[in-house]
């Protein structure tokens, strides 16, 4: 992993971001410091590319985690909004006819002079939604491939913990593709099958621009099924990105944004007079790519990233700043772990 910005949950601004750096093997954090540009390397090229075996091995000990209570469909390992039969004491209440006599708290009943029963916490499974931005802007560099890798990695983590997961993809042609709810060993294959059906192509100057239905994808992910965490993997390079963040924060369950930018976004290789064509909107911006202009772009990008961080924090959305050259297991086991979605 070349650079990974991990803001604290609820924190705002780049000054609160943590940086974890790893060696070339991605074996784990070795040092920390400000974000720097490492040597250029292409990320995964294919949205449906399988996870490397080494990554799968490193993801083994990790499970999904939740910060807020969940309402699951089965018993699981996450604190539920309901009471159940876990060992975790939750409360006491007066005995009513029909209660299991074994739940009587004899000591408390003796102390209070009336029959009281013990109420324990319930532990449910959680239902994770991964929303992937497969818009045309994601086709630059290795962003799209990295998004697929993150989805597969989360699927692997969820399957390992017995949780459910669903992948919703906002495709470049304005449609929303969603996988079924998945659980168990076949999760990875099903995710791969879903991602393989997503239309993607290399950008071309002759393409007709078109926005992705990212808002629709988020709303669909939020609106179906029990409450649970939502992870959005996107570069957020849309004019209504604030709406996207707001939609992500709407509803119950944790919300995490994996803000994935690529080499071409951070330091585009431009020179001379260039007509920049927006891959999604088709809007043309004519620039003279001098050193001053490129430096100004870098500063503008940093300001925009800070603004995204602040806006997300305002709405309770955790942000993981990632690069398409990062290692996917670093994003999951370090970045998402700090957001509380992965334990």
């Amino acid at each position: 992993m070349r650079g990974l910005r991990l803001p604290r949950r609820g924190a705002a601004g780049a000054d609160t971001a943590l940086v974890a750096r790893a060696g070339p093997s991605g074996a784990g954090p070795v040092t920390s410091g400000p974000v720097t540009s490492g040597p250029r390397a292409d990320g995964p090229a294919d949205l449906a590319a399988p996870l490397p075996p080494a990554v799968v091995t490193r993801l083994g000990p990790h499970r999904l985690a939740t910060v807020s209570r969940v309402t699951g469909t089965r018993e699981g390992a996450h604190r539920s909004t309901r009471h159940g039969h876990s060992l975790e004491f939750a409360d006491q209440r007066p005995y009513v006819a029909g209660d299991d006599p074994r739940s009587l708290d004899l000591a408390a009943s003796r102390r209070h002079g009336r029959l009281l029963v013990r109420i324990h916490e319930a532990e449910d499974d959680t239902s994770l939604r991964v929303v992937l931005d497969a818009s045309r802007s994601m086709a630059f560099g290795g962003k799209l491939g990295m998004a697929g890798q993150v989805a597969r990695a989360l699927g692997h983590v969820a399957a390992h913990g017995g949780d459910r997961i669903r992948v919703v993809v906002a495709t470049e042609d304005g449609r929303v593709t969603a996988s079924p709810w998945m659980r168990g060993a076949a999760t990875g294959w099903t995710i791969g099958h879903t991602l393989a059906a997503v239309p993607t192509a290399a950008p071309s100057p002759d393409d007709q621009p078109g926005p992705a239905a990212l808002l629709d994808a988020i709303r669909r992910a939020r609106g179906e099924g029990p409450a649970g965490p939502v992870v959005l993997v996107s570069d957020l390079l849309v004019l209504d990105w604030t709406e996207v963040v707001r939609a992500l924060a709407t509803g119950r369950g944790d919300a995490v944004l994996v803000h994935l930018l690529g080499r071409d976004d951070r330091a585009p290789d431009l020179d001379g007079d260039v007509d920049l064509v927006d891959a999604e909107t088709g809007r043309v911006v004519s620039i003279a790519a001098t050193d001053e202009v490129l430096a100004a772009h870098t500063r503008a990008l940093a300001r925009w990233q800070d603004e995204v961080q602040r806006h997300a924090a305002r709405h309770g959305v955790a942000v993981v700043a990632a690069d398409d050259r990062d290692q996917v297991d670093e994003i999951v086991t370090v970045g998402l772990r700090r957001t509380g979605v992965v334990a």
């Binding site: 045309r136 630059f140 290399a202 950008p203 570069d235 260039v274 007509d275 990008l301």
Partner: protein, 651 residues
């Protein structure tokens, strides 16, 4: 590499505006980016183009620069310095002999020579001159002192195909006459034959060989001998110049009607003769043609045929010195074209006499006309007469042409004198000696009979008139009609009453020959038609009748030109004469090599522009940097197959 016109390199200065144009040209590259959202917030993002761009040459620039550089180089007329082939004055002598008509592959040797010379003179430089001499039967100057390659090319176009031998001596005489003392002169000889060493001595001469060793057949001679009664004897000489035996077909035609066709076998490098008798009227054209009957390659076509013209036997004046012999005079008068004058003794003046017949009278020793001696009273010097013998037998007869169709077996002789002589050949005789001899006495054809007709029954046999006819023909017959040889000079017979005759060579042209200068160089084989030309003042109008034809001329190939088995001469580079001025180095022009580069650059630019336009029209497809449809399809297929496999193993 050097430049004949260095000023042409000034065209390289056009590179400067080209580069400046690329520096100033606002070329807004259209670049698709993931988003322009951030760029819109960059205050310094300018829409105005910067006046000075970074120099970013593209493929078009490099191709244009390449075309410019190569074009400027071509304008500078680059050349490579090679060994001296052109002097200040180069005299090219091109062999235009008959053998240069041989085809090596798809071109004749003369055409190859023309190309070679054109290649050599392409390097002509400033101040250099080139002269071209055609070395045919008569050498001639095609161009003298040409200063451009175009002039020389024009002169080479006037080279004529000839069929005779090359007169290299004459050509070198002309070349020497063209030399000037203030110029370094090179003589460049292009030939398929060895150049005599005497010609190249003390001269700066280079020899450029042409030609390859080939097989060839030919008719080297055709002689026609009129025999009277409308018949003529043909003598045909055939030649095989190849190194292996050849089966060939010989065809004889008289006025285009084939009268003889036979297959002949020719040994390697062999020459054979054929004699035959044909019938035809005077003026009929005889043609002998020899072509291979097997798959032998016949390298030279012009010597495959020879021509002849039949003619009538000429009038023969015979003087018969005899005391009276009706058998002799009757037999002589029976011969066609013979005019017999009977005298008692040999006259002193034999002027105009074609044949002297001496019968039982004395023979002077200084007779200079052909003689038929029939038991003369005295024998001339050179003839030895033995003692007379009685009843000699005639048991031996040679195959001499005197005995053609003659059988002397029934001849009986009462008394005879056996004859002998160093210059005489026995014709007929027996054990007692030779009774009939023939030969040349001091160069005079002579036939002698050692017995009198009165002592023999020879005059009473059928063999006698035939023998006399043979003897008249052998002794005083018309000389064989010898055709002219290509490249030679003939004297045209201009009839009385005409000032000129018109001679038409086989190529269809017409040459007017006057009676004052009737000689004509015949440089092509075949039949040369002769027609009346301008009439002399006061001439007989019958001579000028339209369409009247005079005896045609026949020109046969030169036998030496057909030997294509001779290897071409060794190539000889220019060697300056000992004390002569130094030769300027030769120039090998290179402009022809660079022009294709310009054309290739232009074609590449056109192809590049076409390909780019097609790619843009094709829209998506195959651009790197993203996920391709092919990869997605492969992944989908792989994932589907794995899913099906998992479904199968599940209960």
């Amino acid at each position: 590499m050097r430049f004949a016109n260095p000023g042409g390199l000034a065209a390289l200065g056009l590179l400067v505006p080209l580069v400046v144009w690329y520096l100033l040209k606002s070329r807004r590259a259209r670049r698709v980016v993931s988003s322009t959202m951030v760029w819109q917030s960059v205050p310094q993002a300018m829409t105005a183009a910067t006046p000075w761009q970074r120099f970013r040459p593209d493929a078009t620039f490099w191709l244009a620069a390449l075309a410019l550089v190569v074009g400027a180089t071509a304008l500078a007329r680059p050349y490579a310095v090679v060994d001296a082939t052109l002097g200040d004055h180069t005299i090219v002598i091109v062999d235009a002999s008959g053998s240069m008509n041989a085809r090596d592959g798809d071109t004749t040797r003369l055409e190859r020579a023309r190309r070679d010379v054109a290649t050599v003179v392409d390097g002509i430089g400033d101040g250099q001159e080139v002269s071209v001499i055609e070395a045919g039967s008569q050498a001639r100057v095609l161009v003298a002192g040409a200063t451009t390659a175009d002039e020389v090319d024009g002169a080479l176009g006037r080279l004529r195909l000839q069929h005779g031998p090359a007169d290299l001596d004459d050509a070198f005489v002309l070349a020497t006459a063209l030399q000037r003392p203030d110029q370094a002169t090179v003589m460049h000889v292009v030939t398929d034959r060895e150049v005599p060493g005497a010609l190249v001595a003390d001269r700066a001469v280079s020899v450029q060989p042409v030609g390859e060793v080939q097989d060839n057949l030919g008719v080297t001679r055709l002689q026609v001998v009129p025999r009277g009664s409308g018949t003529s004897d043909l003598f045909v000489a055939l030649r095989n110049w190849s190194q292996h035996p050849v089966e060939a077909r010989l065809s004889i035609t008289v006025d285009d009607e084939e009268v003889v066709a036979e297959v002949v076998d020719l040994a390697p490098r062999d020459a054979i003769d054929r004699t035959m008798t044909v019938r035809g009227g005077a003026g009929a054209v005889v043609r002998a043609t020899l072509v291979p009957a097997d798959d032998t390659v016949d390298g030279l076509a012009l010597d495959d045929s020879a021509w002849g013209v039949l003619r009538s036997p000429e009038q023969v004046r015979v003087v018969a010195a005899t005391p009276g012999n009706v058998f002799l005079t009757a037999a002589l008068e029976a011969v066609e074209g013979v005019e017999v004058t009977e005298v008692a003794s040999v006259p002193d003046d034999l002027t105009g006499v074609d044949l002297l017949v001496v019968d039982r009278v004395a023979v002077p020793d200084d007779v200079a006309v052909p003689m038929l001696l029939v038991a003369p009273a005295s024998w001339p010097d050179g003839v030895s007469a033995a003692a007379p013998v009685e009843l000699p037998s005639v048991t031996i007869q040679s195959d001499h042409e005197l005995l053609g169709s003659v059988d002397l077996s029934d001849v009986a002789v009462a008394t005879a004198t056996p004859l002998s002589g160093d210059e005489l050949t026995p014709i007929a005789g027996g054990t007692d000696g030779d009774l009939v001899v023939a030969g040349r006495l001091r160069g005079v054809p002579t036939v002698a009979l050692g017995f009198s007709l009165l002592d023999s029954n020879l005059a009473l046999t059928a063999a006698w008139p035939t023998f006399v006819s043979n003897a008249v023909g052998w002794l005083a017959g018309a000389p064989p009609a010898v055709a002219a040889v290509a490249g030679g000079t003939v004297v045209v017979d201009v009839p009385a009453g005409l000032d000129t005759v018109l001679v038409s060579p086989p190529d269809g042209s017409t040459v007017e020959v006057s009676a004052i200068a009737p000689s004509l160089v015949v440089d092509r084989v075949g039949l040369w038609r002769v027609a009346p030309g301008a009439a002399a003042p006061g001439a007989d109008p019958d001579v000028l009748a339209d369409g009247a034809e005079l005896p045609s001329l026949v020109v046969n190939p030169d036998g030496d030109e057909g030997d294509l088995a001779q290897p071409p001469p060794e190539a000889v580079a220019v060697v300056a004469a000992g004390d002569g001025p130094e030769l300027a180095p030769g120039r090998q022009p290179l402009a022809a090599l660079v022009v294709p580069v310009v054309l290739a650059a232009l074609v590449l630019e056109w192809l590049r522009a076409t390909v780019v336009a097609r790619r843009r029209a094709a829209g998506r497809g195959g651009r790197g940097g993203g996920v391709t449809g092919a990869g997605r399809d492969r992944s989908a297929r792989w994932t589907s197959s794995v899913a099906r496999a998992v479904a199968r193993v599940r209960p």
